[in-house]
Symmetry: C2
DNA sequence: CTCTATGCAAAAACTTTGCAGGGAT
DNA sequence: ATCCCTGCAAAGTTTTTGCATAGAG
């Protein structure tokens, strides 16, 4: 789905800054922090954070804090759990089958922290 | 287990500030942020954060960011998943049976965000 | 045309650091 | 006696806000 379509579906105004953020998220296909992309962003940080906040309110994206204390953003579209290694700080994507049984709850995000197999064996 | 014992087991010096922090965590039996307890803390905030950091390094406690953007601390001892409702911001403790199958990983914490049954029906 | 989005700069919120003195082992 | 812990104040980091202008519908 085109990012322009996502924005319009949520009745948000279509602006270059919003398109830019979502295109980066689609392109990278992994959780992103402001720090990760600030150098290539055309917009001001205030605009970035204001749009991130708007996107979260509209459930276009979700955010979570990683081990480095920064907030990471990912598209809600292809939801999946993330695994953060507290040793190497790598964020990896898990598949849906690993999701907990949580009848009665509406799950919006899952954060699992621990040590990845690679770090366990080194 | 006495908090003094926990501290000594990890070869940390036994100081009043350390005992104070751990006793609050034991007593409250739920994740705590600095903000939650700053009014009753005898120590300076620098001391609080330095000890929290030490405790995390020693795996005495774990921390995670909640929906209010603050960091919460809980004892590693009785590890269990936490559920954060993004609607009412309540943090509730889940039981271990809900844990994902994660062979090969060492899980240190699980954060699930979503909407709790109470909020879903209101 | 109207209302929202944006850039800039300044502030806020939370956490960390430097330094000199105090305390645990 | 030694080395770590502590308080205080100051700085750091990430995110938010105020205000005037620009832009979307």
């Amino acid at each position: 789905m085109k990012v322009e379509q996502i924005i319009k579906e949520k009745n948000l105004k279509l602006t270059p800054a919003r398109v830019e953020i979502l295109e980066i998220l689609v392109e990278q296909n992994r959780p992103i922090s402001y720090d990760d992309i600030k150098d290539r962003l055309l917009m001001d940080k205030a605009t970035f954070y204001r749009n991130i906040s708007r996107f979260e309110d509209s459930a276009i994206i979700r955010s979570f804090e990683s081990n480095d204390k920064k907030r990471y953003f990912s598209l809600e579209q292809n939801f999946h759990p993330h695994f953060i290694c507290t040793k190497c700080n790598t964020i990896s994507c898990l598949d849906e089958k690993s999701i907990i049984n949580m009848d009665g709850y509406k799950i919006e995000s899952i954060i699992i922290k621990g040590i990845c197999p690679k770090c366990l064996n080194s």
